[in-house]
Point group: C2
Chain length 410, copies 2
Amino acid sequence: MLQSQLFPKTKKESPKDAVSINHKLLVRAGFIDQLMAGSWTLLPLGWRVINKIIGIIREEMNAIGGQELLMPLMHPKEIWNETGRWESAKEVMYQLTDARKKEFALSFTHEEIVMDLLRKHVNSYNDLPVAMYHFSTKFRNELRPTGGILRGREFLMKDLYSAHQTEEDMNDYYEKVSDAYIKIFNRIGFDSYITEAAGGVFTENRTREFQVVAEAGEDTIYIKKDTKKALNKEVFEGNLDDYEEKRSIEVGNIFPFGDKKYSEKMNVTYQDRDGQSKLVYFASYGIGVTRLLGTAVEVFHDERGIIWPKSIAPYQVHLIELKKERNEEIKKKAEEIYDKLQNAGVEILWDDREVMAGEKFADADLIGIPVRLVVSEKSGDKIEWKERNSDKTELLQLDEVIERMCTREK
Amino acid sequence: MLQSQLFPKTKKESPKDAVSINHKLLVRAGFIDQLMAGSWTLLPLGWRVINKIIGIIREEMNAIGGQELLMPLMHPKEIWNETGRWESAKEVMYQLTDARKKEFALSFTHEEIVMDLLRKHVNSYNDLPVAMYHFSTKFRNELRPTGGILRGREFLMKDLYSAHQTEEDMNDYYEKVSDAYIKIFNRIGFDSYITEAAGGVFTENRTREFQVVAEAGEDTIYIKKDTKKALNKEVFEGNLDDYEEKRSIEVGNIFPFGDKKYSEKMNVTYQDRDGQSKLVYFASYGIGVTRLLGTAVEVFHDERGIIWPKSIAPYQVHLIELKKERNEEIKKKAEEIYDKLQNAGVEILWDDREVMAGEKFADADLIGIPVRLVVSEKSGDKIEWKERNSDKTELLQLDEVIERMCTREK
């Protein structure tokens, strides 16, 4: 991608109302744009990061047998009445009435919709277990949507749902998903913790939350020293001396509903091997996809800008050409590097703009692509290699650059 | 994918209310499920086809410099008031009020949202031209959502928007998009026609529509004999003898708005080379993504089921094992074929169920995957190869199957 064509340009100033780091940096660097409180456009750079995140989650969901689909966002009132959530979740749910006085809810979650799918399509034990997920928009009427893209009124979520014959099978799968979640957060580059917490409008059972430690976190968790286990403040019991208190961001949660909460209310049953009608065991599992974008910035940044982990960087290489006036030789060299890296499958952003070196370097630090390459009169035949999270620069041949890019682990 | 695990199973009967072919076949074969009138879940098979369609569109949009992003679905009333469409498009637009009496619209299109992005981020001639697109959900309060997935109240659309300094530049790009659209429909396998039509709530100018001939079409077009040109009924002028009347489905449309319709009303300007403030020339371009899924079924089917074109088939190969009782040898052979084809990068659905041969064959014809492979006692060492759109069967070695699959054009 040529930076001269990239929409939009970076900004020198943060938005006036921005408090959180992800809000400031993602807006200045051109990753997101605010339409209204809690509502964001994912601009081309931001959308690339989201797609990387989606790619990682998709692989891990498929690996545990999840089947991807896409469910509607506007739902009939009747279906939400079956579980009582039309009333009980009214505060968080956007509701609307059409010209013919028919009432609808916008998706704040999809349990009821999945249950409706299951009761239509699951007949016998042969049809279970089944796990399905989608990446889709959620609408939640947050009183105060703050923290940049961490808490929106409209946001992207991955939600997985599973249905089982027995509680044991549900619990086994619940552990598989829990492991997959930790893998996902590790692959992004996060240090994540599992906590036990209360389930809110979702369930009266305790649920498991996935937490990433970050200064901007809204949650308080207690991490058991020398372990990966943690407790949520609400349910903390124990001796504080054995724990470290840290602020954290909740990036995922999983709910083992069992056969009562939804199956009984919506009459989701299957015929077992003896021809008996049984209630389905049901669980749901969420990851905040856009929230992960914001969390990454909260965790990976310095005073100059974002420092993307390789796994979710919008591009792998930021190529900068520095030339006094119209130096055609340097332009040509940059073009050669750009073409050869692209042909080698490397995602590359080329700063081909006619602006000062200082502006190019500042933008590269702000945008935060993992590797910066500079070609200039100074670098001569070679190319300057610098990684975003290091101050070390090296001079390399083009072949060496390609070799390094193609052998770097993701 | 193992068919025993695929959600959901096929159905013997069409839905009672289904009239159109895409409705009947897509529901029976397990590609879509109706939540309410005009609202569909894209089930795993359907979602795979949608992703193939998205992949083709994305390639062609990127090839003409489109930048992908994602814009919000819920919009503030104020922004729709700027162009008057809060009132003028009220019939088609879902509108809602939150607990604090703030009013919102659900996305029935995104021109106003793009214009808001442009006026925030475009300053000078240096920032133009720019073209951006997204795949996103549209909500339209259709009075009668009929025709299966052809006309929904909630559906997926690809919308592209472009902004230019001059009318000439806009018109040039308009032609590029027009060409890209024809390429997209060709790649899917459609025979498509361009017609000129009136613009509805979008513009008073004539717009260009892209039409695919199909019996179930709601539009009437007049195709000039021996050309690829056609006229929409509304604007038809000429001698009927030179034209063939055909029913068709509108799958795309493009609107050259210019600088009045949106730019003037929303004050979207840039500074030209002389420092003068000028209005931006603006155009928008849509493709109905879920509608393409339905259109493909309307065009490509027979009395037994769907016949997917290779370019958008959910899987490339449907492997069927036929065995009397528990014949472990055939199971093993099927496993080998499945593994080897998967390793060669072939997308394969394996019917591993313990059901009768007749049911397997009927399901394969219904689902419509391009190549069917059968292993049975009869096929011996070899594998039976049959294409969905042919009655010819051949016996091949596994190596020959792999060779064929890897060299078939998409």
